[in-house]
Amino acid sequence: MNPYIPHTDDEVEEMLSKIGVKSLDDLFSPLPQEKRVKKMGLPESLDEFSVFSNLRKLAYKNADAQRYSYFMGGGIYNHVIPSAVHQIVSRGDFYTAYTPYQAEVSQGSLQTMFEFQTMICEITGMGISNASMYDGAEATAEAALMAARFSKKYKVLIADTLHPEYLQTVKTYASGPEVKVEIVEHDETGTLSLNDLRNKIDEETAAVIVQYPNFFGVVEDLKAIREVSKDILMIVAVNPISLGVLETPGAFGTDIVTGDGQPLGIPMNFGGPSFGIFAIRDDRRLVRTMPGRIIGETVDVKGKRGFVMTLQAREQHIRREKATSNICSNHALGTLYAATYLSLVGPQGLKEIGENNLAKSHYLLEKLEKTGHFKRKFSGEFFNEFVVETDLNIFKLKRKLLKNNIIGPIDLGMFGGTKNKLRKLLSKNDLLFCTTEANTAEDIERLLSVVEAM
């Protein structure tokens, strides 16, 4: 017997006879019998404790943030997550619910997502948010497609300071509808070169995509970029946590904000799941080309407030091949993480966390520079990560750090197999350090003492 399947033998018999077939196999008679599977070759079923032990063993083979200090960012960040977040998201009432098609018995999900949309608008300074995309990369790619669709132009400019995996994703997505992708270079500050941008905008250009702060940790000058890019859409991929201290992209007239929601209360999860942020200016025309589920307020038959999925005429289940995106399941549970996280930290907490991240990274950079082994690579202002060049042997450094229970920094020279792009931008001695409020001063001292001992 199986603990997930309730059927007793008697019941199976009874059901078969009601159906009017003799055996279970009869139910599969429409299948091409010559192709029936004999053996897939999976192992035998295991009891619960054996499965648990197996997986615990695998888990234990990984170095994790309960046992190691992380100085690693680059899109996924080790932040402190309030305990109440887990308590709430682990309620089966939430996580075993489906997409809220039946609004009357899904007000929990729907109101949560409506609150989430509001919070995303508040932190980004935008007017409309959807109820999540898959992740920051996919959201950014869909923003590029949306921009092309909206403006009916088929070129997008992308800052080379955008996260390389986001860039790759945009390129993949661009290749279907044959949107042209052009790269805008950065200058010595580590931000997008305004000159290059100005030169590359033409009448075919739908949008420019920048990241804020960018992959090097540097804060792009959105005001200046907006001035140069007045006639095209400006798409900004944000790190939402940075918006506790940084001015909102909305304040600079951004058209579309994307980003990865992981820093908002979601564990690192080896990179997924998190969720994609997708928010736009409050624009009726723009929203009609937006991808993803959107929750709206309405009333029930008695005039009581309630929430529903709305503006569905954009979506695949109605519009099919003409839909604004193929997205169906989104990452709704991520909105619950974010909504509970942001409710818990509040405006003051978000600010303090931002300030803490900011202070830690600058403190670490200062100390690293003092060791004489590290040189800051870009002069631009940064938030919680920064690039340095080092004269140390990177392999040795990383080995020593690991031995001292430290994970990070990211070795940009070796970065995720993205040979082409990054190698051109960076020397193989470039390191990307990251700090968050989860790094205590003590952690930093430990890191420094490893460096000093080299």
Binding site: G41, A84, L246, Q316
Partner: protein, 477 residues
């Protein structure tokens, strides 16, 4: 219920972040945020109470029967949640040195191997974040395949009229023209119609089998042959794999590309709309087109492999929805060879039992052996002014989640029921009883259906108003 913003009070705190233990840094004022976001200011207790009470307004697999056709809302085992939240899985960073994440890589590798065995495919990517994302990826692979052969004219994707909306949408996003092929009166792809639309522009065909009517496409081998002969590729939408896993494999039926919905077939929860995971399997000749990285095993070390030359690139950041993968992996270990087979048997048994019983009450247009789901219709009740929506809304009053309605689009006023194997005969019998009761009500007192639901936290909601006067965020009055 109040919105969390409506119980906010300036100055309240719900969480105290770590204190600043290094010297503060002042960033240039041109970068600094001028107005604080109007996030809620509440205590931890407020937050817990608010979301606990919200959660109680939800229907969920953990609270009741969820026979949503096409969605396979099976029970989500708690062991899987537990292992996925082990810190060795949930608190690791994707850019750690691979030697510090051997457990994670091995898990992904092994999961890929198992999924290959289950689907009959040769290579797998675990990256896609959902079913539609898998479709996107799979279709992109097909596109790149044709392009790599300089077969640039293959710009048409054939999709049956019963297909899920994501199929045409995924095709379109990949730049394909969607060619719809109709179903015959048995609810299957009309092979003659199919023959008419294929040609040198055919890039391939997307199909789910059993299809969205719950009917197994009996001509599948012929269909595969037709498409292949025309130079096209066969795409398998694996959303309905629960019907046939362990019985027959897409790879053996002629499919070249397949995506799976781990959040359906492999019991990972749906999370009120995600995250899911939509791994894509391909035949050998397409392996080189998979997104990078894939997981490879070199001697006894597991590595990320970025070497695919013809890769479509990336469809997202990092490696996939990892903790979802952990859950699916635990499920497969628990079920084993026999359990996987048993699951599809019981899923199909449940569906046929319900079909048999429901067909005594409602019209079931294709009332033959079905697979994991079937479609009924309330069309005969139209004279009473009853629509499918009215019918299912009334189920809410009896404490049951409505089946899918108005999908697939090819049956009118349809109700698509998928019980899954984790529901007991008792539950199915109660469902039948309720359907009977509602059917009688429809004849005797249709108003009670039209105005349903009556016992839910809110009554029937005004969708039109929501769309016409969109209120998409809370604003202070």
């Amino acid at each position: 219920m109040e919105l969390i913003f409506e119980i906010s009070k300036e100055g309240r705190r719900g969480f105290i972040p770590p204190k600043m233990d290094v010297k503060p840094y002042k960033i240039e004022s041109k970068y600094t945020r001028k107005n604080a976001p109007k996030l809620p200011e509440v205590t931890e207790g407020d937050v817990v109470r608010h979301y606990t009470n919200l959660s109680r307004l939800n229907y969920a697999v953990d609270t009741g029967f969820y026979p949503l056709g096409s969605c396979t809302m099976k029970y989500n085992p708690k062991l899987n949640e537990r292992v996925a939240s082990l810190s060795g899985f949930s608190e690791i960073h994707p850019y750690q040195d691979s030697k510090t994440v051997q457990g994670a890589l091995k898990l992904m590798y092994d999961l890929g191997e198992s999924l290959k065995k289950i689907t009959g495919m040769d290579a797998m990517t675990l990256q896609p974040a959902a079913g539609a994302h898998g479709e996107y990826t799979g279709i992109a692979i097909m596109r790149q395949y044709h392009r790599s052969r300089k077969d640039f004219d293959r710009n048409e994707m054939i999709v049956p009229d019963s297909a899920h909306g994501t199929n045409p949408a995924s095709s379109a996003m990949n730049g394909f023209k969607v060619i719809v092929v109709e179903s015959d009166d048995r609810g299957m792809v009309d092979v003659d119609e199919l023959k008419k639309v294929i040609g040198p522009n055919t890039a391939g065909m997307m199909l789910t089998n059993p299809n969205t009517l719950g009917i197994f496409e009996e001509n599948i081998l012929e269909i595969s042959k037709i498409i292949h002969d025309a130079g096209g590729l066969m795409y398998y939408d694996g959303a309905n794999l629960n019907a046939i896993m362990g019985q027959v494999r897409p790879g053996d039926m002629g499919f070249d590309v397949v995506h799976l919905n781990l959040h359906k077939t492999f019991s990972t929860p749906h999370g009120m709309g995600g995250p899911g995971a939509g791994p894509v399997g391909v035949k050998k000749f397409l392996e080189d087109f998979l997104p990078v990285p894939t997981i490879d095993k070199k001697k006894d070390k597991y590595v990320l492999d970025f070497s695919h030359k013809k890769t479509i690139g990336r469809v997202r950041s990092f490696y996939g929805n990892f903790t979802v993968l952990v859950k699916a992996y635990a499920y497969i270990l628990t079920m084993g060879e026999e359990g996987i087979k048993h699951a599809s048997e019981m899923a199909v048994l449940n569906a046929n039992y319900l079909r048999t019983e429901i067909s005594k009450i409602l019209k079931v247009p294709h009332n033959n052996i079905c697979m994991h789901e079937f479609v009924a219709t309330t069309l005969p009740l139209e004279e009473k002014g009853i629509k499918a929506l009215d019918f299912v809304k009334r189920m809410l009053d009896y404490g049951i989640h409505p089946p899918t309605v108005y999908f697939p689009l090819i049956v009118h006023e349809d109700i698509m029921v998928e019980p899954t194997e984790t529901e007991s005969k008792d539950t199915l019998d109660r469902f039948v009883e309720i359907v009977k009761k509602i059917y009688d009500e429809a004849n005797e007192d249709p108003k009670i259906l039209k105005e349903a639901p009556h016992t839910t936290p809110v009554g029937r909601l005004d969708d039109t108003r929501a769309a016409r006067y969109p209120v998409l965020r809370w604003k202070e009055e």
